[in-house]
């Protein structure tokens, strides 16, 4: 087990601030990337359910392009190709934008399915009350769709966190990068990968738990016709408890 020798662990703890710094960078990129992906997801998700064919087409192209090409290729394009035409983007911004746009496509699909899952009558009702399209979405449809959307959204968020590790490949200064460069300069691969694994696990595991909890809570949303059965079961249960 020389890969995990005491000396290597010692080296790691001497350089622990590198890992803390990387962890901070990863969190920073995750937060802003998540924000960007949510905004993009909401916008493109909503317009992919609109009546306008052009808007729907734009949303379709966005989703299909970014879901069907590798994130690494997209990030490399920003990092390696754009400088040839005079566009230089700082690495961290590349991380936020790259991860945000890529996962925005997944968020958009979640939002679309969420909106399509709300009964059509809700939209008609809002229309009949004189709500505009945006108002209908904001006040009527999205709040209801949120229940269906939350579990898959947290899943996408967890994937986003894991995928920020790709920045290591373009020297993004994130957790994975710090670990990788520390490992290749000290040869302490074992401890470095273990610590990085633990740090990613610490952020991803609670999210996975949350997703599981939300799925249990909201996942089995009863269909309208089941409500009466559910209500009577509920009141019976209450009565029995008394």
């Amino acid at each position: 087990m020389s890969a995990f020798s005491a000396q290597k662990w010692e080296k790691l703890f001497q350089n622990i601030d590198l890992f803390i710094q990387g962890f901070g960078t990863t969190l920073y990129i995750v937060l802003l990337g998540l924000l960007l992906s949510l905004v993009l997801g909401a916008i493109f998700g909503v317009i992919s359910t609109s009546h306008n064919k052009v808007l729907r087409g734009i949303a379709r192209v966005y989703v299909e392009f970014f879901q069907n090409t590798p994130l690494l290729v997209q990030i490399f394009f920003l990092y390696n190709a754009l400088p040839y035409v005079g566009v230089f983007i700082p690495v961290k911004t590349i991380g936020i934008v790259g991860v945000g746009i890529y996962h925005g496509a997944y968020m958009a699909e979640v939002v679309r399915t969420g909106i399509e899952a709300t009964p059509k009558g809700q939209r008609d009702a809002a229309d009949s009350q004189g709500f505009s399209y945006v108002q209908t979405m904001l006040y009527i449809i999205l709040p209801q769709a949120l229940k269906v959307m939350l579990p898959p959204l947290t899943n996408v968020a967890a994937n986003l966190i894991k995928n920020t590790s790709i920045l290591a490949i373009i020297a993004g200064g994130d957790l994975m990068y710090q670990a990788d460069s520390f490992a290749s300069s000290t040869l302490a691969y074992g401890p470095a990968y273990v610590v990085v694994g633990i740090l990613y696990f610490i952020i991803c595991f609670p999210l996975a738990r949350l997703s599981g909890y939300l799925e249990k809570r909201f996942g089995a949303t009863p269909k309208p016709k089941d409500y009466t059965a559910l209500l009577s079961a509920y009141s019976m249960g209450k009565g029995a408890a008394k």
Partner: protein
């Protein structure tokens, strides 16, 4: 226009095309073998988690949570740099296959578990009443229905695996993106039309990935529709 043609000609020489498509072969091979192995291991893990005793269940849960909550890239790097692959599998490609199999098995296990839960409990009772033992019930009754239900989810995972094999470029495994990057760097030394050539290569790489994955995602959508109908 002439410049563009020249750029195309210098990028898509016969040897360059051959080199890139050989990389694409490696990409598809790694993805295919990893997916096949992950379906097998994923099924075993899912059976452990659903029907196993305390020990098997604990092992399965720990495995799944470990791999689902850490980045794939971490495993690619760790396996490549820390695991010495045994003799017939010592080519770099196999460490890629191992990393992707380990990681994807956890995802497949969750997909298969979802499929197992979707099979009606009455199917078990019926099989037992006909004298099937547990193994027979699984192989002949439950798993066929389970797999049928999870084909779309498994195919979506195939898309993810194909995209993520691009990580292997980072550990110098000669897959599609790695080879394309080599061609790119060979184009950079000549000063004429550099930017055009780099953009052409990126466009080509994105297009190839897109064609493969978009085809798969159309199949996913169709099979979902069929299931819902």
């Amino acid at each position: 226009m002439n410049e563009l043609m020249n750029a195309f000609e210098s990028v898509f020489t016969r040897s360059n095309i051959f080199y890139m498509f050989r990389g694409l072969g490696v990409t598809l091979y790694v993805a295919l073998i990893s997916v096949i192995l992950s379906v097998i291991f994923g099924t075993i893990l899912a059976l452990f988690r659903t029907y196993g005793n305390k020990f098997l269940k604990g092992f399965s849960v720990a495995y799944i949570e470990l791999f689902r909550n850490t980045p794939n890239l971490l495993w690619v790097l760790a396996i490549r740099f820390m695991v010495r692959m045994p003799e017939p599998f010592d080519a770099p490609m196999y460490s890629g296959i191992l990393a992707f199999t380990l990681f994807t098995s956890a995802v497949m296990a969750e997909i298969v578990r979802g499929g197992l839960n979707s099979v009606h409990a009455g199917q078990f009772e019926a099989a037992y009443s006909q004298g099937f033992n547990f193994f027979q019930t699984m192989v002949f009754i439950i798993l066929p229905q389970c797999y049928k239900a999870i084909v779309p989810a498994m195919l979506s995972q195939v898309i993810t695996v194909i995209k993520d094999t691009s990580f292997l470029a980072q550990v110098a495994i000669e897959e599609f993106f790695n080879n394309s990057k080599w061609i790119m760097s060979a184009q950079i030394d000549s000063t004429v039309n550099q930017s055009m050539r780099v953009f052409i290569i990126f466009g080509f790489v994105a297009l190839v990935y897109f064609i493969i994955n978009f085809t798969l995602s159309c199949i996913v959508r169709n099979s979902r529709k069929k299931q819902e109908a």
